[in-house]
Subunit: 405 residues, 2 copies
Amino acid sequence: MMGNLRFTIKNRSRGCRARTGMLKLKHGSIKTPELMPVATKATVKALSSEDLEEIGAQLLICNTYHLMLRPGPQIIEDFGGLHNFMNWKKPLLTDSGGFQAFSLGLGIEHATGKMSLYFPESNNKSSKKPQKSIVKMTERGIYFHSVYDNTKHLLTPESSIEIQEKLGADMILALDECTSPLSSKEYTEEAMERTHRWAVRCVEAHRTDQALAGIVQGGLWKDLRERSARFISALPVDSIAIGGSLGKSKKDMHEILDWTIPLLPEEKPRHLLGIGVVEDIFEGVERGIDLFDCVSPTRVARVGHAYTRPLLGTIYNKFKFNVTLAEYRNDKRPLDPKCRCKICRNYSRAYIHHLFRTGELLAYYLVSYHNVYFFISMMKDIRKAIDSGPSGFMKMKKEWGIGQN
Amino acid sequence: MMGNLRFTIKNRSRGCRARTGMLKLKHGSIKTPELMPVATKATVKALSSEDLEEIGAQLLICNTYHLMLRPGPQIIEDFGGLHNFMNWKKPLLTDSGGFQAFSLGLGIEHATGKMSLYFPESNNKSSKKPQKSIVKMTERGIYFHSVYDNTKHLLTPESSIEIQEKLGADMILALDECTSPLSSKEYTEEAMERTHRWAVRCVEAHRTDQALAGIVQGGLWKDLRERSARFISALPVDSIAIGGSLGKSKKDMHEILDWTIPLLPEEKPRHLLGIGVVEDIFEGVERGIDLFDCVSPTRVARVGHAYTRPLLGTIYNKFKFNVTLAEYRNDKRPLDPKCRCKICRNYSRAYIHHLFRTGELLAYYLVSYHNVYFFISMMKDIRKAIDSGPSGFMKMKKEWGIGQN
């Protein structure tokens, strides 16, 4: 059955596919385009639900892989679902568990992440050498060993849907098989076809009023991406996600979006899975993406990288700087002088530098809060730019100096 | 000179020395008795200034030892003092640096803390075996090696005051030498007399309008404690702190307070240094203590120990329980069902248990917030009980089941 979702497009840019819209889900309405902070294990690292509410986050995404293992779907169902368990009243998404199967399987074998840019959260952080996979893909589903206690588990399209029903998010994702940028075309095609068969099984297994998203795969091959876009678009799903390997470079990612998006139904929201650095968000919005999710804002925060508006970053990265460096030891400015978040109104770089240098927990909180605020506020500005007129978005992109090297 | 401090006693209990009062300092007024959360390195671990404001903390204490080494007094002075540096607008205390000299010196040699109950924050947490001290006491002051980089430092009464003036707290402490419960009477007397001479030097060195507290020493000997109480009371200080070894048992501590307090001037506030578990606070208030400070609320929080009202703890500890234990895995109750803090209104034991089991940073935040709230709210109730009538406090103490084994 189709889920509880309504999507209305509000404004479109001229000369590109950028659009604003309103996405209505069971627990509330979301203005798009939007980035959702990642609450991997039912918590956005270092932040409380009250913080996220205060920041203005509209929706969060949680990881089925982690939650099915700890604390287990039964405990969460006993609480009436994730919303109650984690005290989050607005919309929630869960993924299918498939991406962690990738990052712990092929990701380990190929020692790579989605674009060789990110390396997914896994148990082999310290080593990027190829290792033996602890995951086995079969037609039935994914066999894997828990990263927590090495117990063996099977995740099928049906069990993924069943677990996600227990978790009770507003929107759930079909089980897919993610491939790496190093996978052969042959293997990528095989995985894509399995993903399509699994998507059909997910649609059949799905019984609640949760919205269901299908996932386009196909790696970095035009014909595969097009076939997958057409196949997933033809299914009775509520939303379309774009997953899998997005190639080895930014250019690859742009091409993949340019091949895929024109083939997707205009009236369904589009979610670019796991992508969320500043440049990628602008490029994604330009190409018609409505939803993003990325762990980067909080992950980089924990090593002291703070986001800033254009021209205030470092020469290496226009949009962030490392507050743990000695040069910030006596810096009285806030992390981002143009930011209005409570961290930037109240705390200096020097203080936050001090907290990192002395290993204080508050350091992680302050930078995580600011970074999430930075992205939520950037998304607001992007929506405002799109709504301001047909060339508003491209003007903002230019002002942010994106795509101009 | 005398500092900017006014203390007014409001109500007294009958049959004991418990009292409520109003302590006016430069940055505001404090209702006493009160416990101040410890912001060791200019942060109460895991909590922001906004959290502490929300909890209703009235004053905080920071550690001169740590701040003189990281980030250094000059950086804090450049910010106009600790209040600006850490964004705390209400009153602040700093200690003299003397206690860390103890905990890193004699505390290491004797492998002990104040009452063998606490072990002070130091670089030898993993080992409680006696070690060679990295501290040398001389008439001039305390020579020590930095725990951060092993550089050699000298802390004198004059330099302690000078550094504390740069830090700019509302109240500062004279430099003292703390002894251990294992120190001989001879050594304790020698250290006490040095402490007295240092107190005189501190009074002479003190030039700002910060309030200055003198510290009573004398270990667990009646004649020494009495001599010290008389000596420090005769000095032109604004407040009296009771420091040093408080013996090897609760009974020792009670005796020391019973010897000391009747000899202190009635009109000056009394601060029992570094003591703050539930029972000790009640026993201290009963004996006439106005101020407490203790790291325990946040320290135990980080290993999952949450405070609860009477009868809701474990059989081992009436006032707290370990939320990381398996029995809380599915417990839908808040940490303390009688607590009104935002953590107890919004989060369950099961969720917090999950966060500890998966190593999530939010776990430290949630329990630290609750535990500090627990103490601040308990102090409010103690003040209310004292104000309610002459036997109100002893009635509350009985209800809390304290002193009745």
